[in-house]
Amino acid sequence: MTDMIRTSGLVKRYGDVTALDGLDLAVPKGTILGLLGPNGAGKTTAVRILTTLLEPDAGVAEVAGIDVHAHPDKVRERIGLSGQNAAVDEHLTGFENLDMVGRLYHLGKTKSRERARELLDQFELDEAGDRPAKTYSGGMRRRLDLAAALVASPEVLFLDEPTTGLDPRSRINMWNAIRSLVDGGATLLLTTQYMEEADQLADDIVVIDHGRKIAHGTADQLKTQLGGERIEIVVDELGHLEVTQSILGELCIGDVQVNRQSRKLTAAVTGGAGILQEALRRIDATNVTLLDVGLRRPTLDDVFLTLTGHVAEEKPDEGTNGELVEVPEEFKEEEVV
């Protein structure tokens, strides 16, 4: 398999801050790589280097076998970029935005216009297509931005946090759109700080922190690597949290995580269903009523916590508040029991 995206030893410093500290990546043709990390981990810097927007201080970056530093123009012909901030002109209509991008890819007048209409249809923006983009909702702008990245049907796509700030419904729409891209044969690098997103979309996940790769594998591999399942219990009353916590504490490895708001306790265990049965027996002896019980494999959130010692959303400057991101039921980890 050919690697459509490759970096080796990528380094980028901003003054004293090292944004990238020797990053190696390889993305085979037709696959999605999820680049996962908290704010400031270096995800955007990596994308900016690969899309010719930034020069690295050291290391090599290649897209479709072309050296990004040596031939930026050739790279630009083959890539599409959808950035963190929707890069659309707000005074232009959706159609005008896409048409403009088509002309700048030198598709020609007729082809640009056709492609613009086609993409507006595909992203359900056909009705809003002739309204200025400043009238669009956040989700619509993101879809328009993604559509702009697809105008020239590029072989390689870079999506930098495509769903940050979107509501759950828009996020699922975006996920579906992204899945259909890879069905069309594109190679994709996706950055995200949402564990669920990498889990849902990526064939391969690279976890980075402080500009360095700290883990690499498929979602399953990463979870297996960290071993063990998680017992999740929701109790009926706040007052019952403490007693349940101490019971779980006797059985689990490490600390029991308690979320008071949802009255949920999470504990890492080894020994699977047997341990869960034991826990339930002990809780039964008390007057605690359980609203929900489950044994699940670790999520990428758990993975990240274990790898870095801190939660992923360390700097809550984008509307996230340290809580895990709420994801609709159907996208939650399937429970083993």
């Binding site: 927007l53 630009r76 929707a86 991008v101």
Partner: protein, 269 residues
């Protein structure tokens, strides 16, 4: 290497985008056209009441000066437009596309020719209403208008460069005010320079805004004998001297701006 046709084609796409903004935000155009009207009326009636010329009326003398001042000030739009673009995500989109590197600048400066053309039309109509007229032929007059637009285009490249150096679009107004205001006033734009103190007079004689106004007055036939009370070569050959300035500005600021564009855009976030 991107060919010239490639650059112009991409520049035209960007210019079209800038012009659509004028259509969508008509207030911009309103202010662009209101201030020249105000200038023509204000100066025409206020200064006109005090200044007497021998060969022509003050209002005739004034028009070319106001034209020169307005198109030079118009370059501020270029600077503000560039400063605004550099702050937005759209510049990342442009830089990741296989378009000519200078296209954003080419498009920006080109679309501002449209701004200037519109204000020239509005000012000409206002001028006609208050008694200005062209006493030469259409061809010469056209030459005058072209020289104005050409000079404004060169100054646009200067302001595009400045626009990328400042941190916000608002800063450009202050920056340009400090430079453009004296540049358009220490000149023969609004009053004859005969009675200027000696140093200022020399500056005014060699100021390209003076020679631009002088050349345009000649093109419109709004000349006055006092305009030639000078030994300065520049004012006796205003067209050539102005053209020299245009070439110098373009030769310096086109490459400088293109380089700055690459640098600034790479730095932003």
């Amino acid at each position: 290497m991107a060919s010239v046709a490639h650059t112009l084609g991409d520049g035209a796409v960007v210019a079209r985008r800038n012009l659509i903004k004028i259509k969508r935000v008509p207030e911009l155009l309103l202010w662009t056209t209101m201030s020249p009207i105000m200038f023509v009326l204000l100066f025409g009636y206020i200064f006109g009441s005090a200044i007497v010329l021998q060969g022509t009326t003050y209002r005739e003398f004034l028009i070319a000066g106001i034209f020169a001042q307005t198109v030079v000030f118009g370059a501020t739009f270029t600077g503000a437009g560039m400063a605004e673009d550099m702050q937005k995500g759209i510049i990342d989109r442009f830089r990741s596309l296989p378009m000519a590197r200078s296209a954003v600048l080419v498009g920006r400066t080109a679309s501002d020719i449209a701004y200037n053309s519109i204000s020239l039309v509005v000012m000409s109509l206002t001028g006609l209403l208050i008694g200005w007229s062209i006493s030469t032929n259409a061809l010469e007059a056209l030459g005058g208008y072209l020289l104005l637009l050409f000079f404004a285009y060169a100054v646009s490249w200067v302001m595009a460069y400045v626009g990328m150096l400042v941190s916000s679009p608002e800063a450009i107004n202050n920056a340009s005010f400090m430079v453009i205001f004296p540049m358009t006033f220490i000149a023969n734009t609004f009053v004859p320079i005969d009675n200027f103190p000696s140093v200022l007079k020399t500056v005014a004689e060699w100021n390209p805004v003076s020679t631009l106004a002088q050349a345009v007055r000649e093109a419109f036939g709004n000349t006055d004998p006092s305009m030639y009370n000078t030994d300065a070569w520049s004012l006796h050959n205003p067209i050539v001297y102005t053209l020299i300035w245009i070439v110098i500005l373009l030769v310096i600021f086109i490459p400088l701006s293109v380089r700055q564009y690459q640098k600034t855009a790479a730095r932003s976030k």
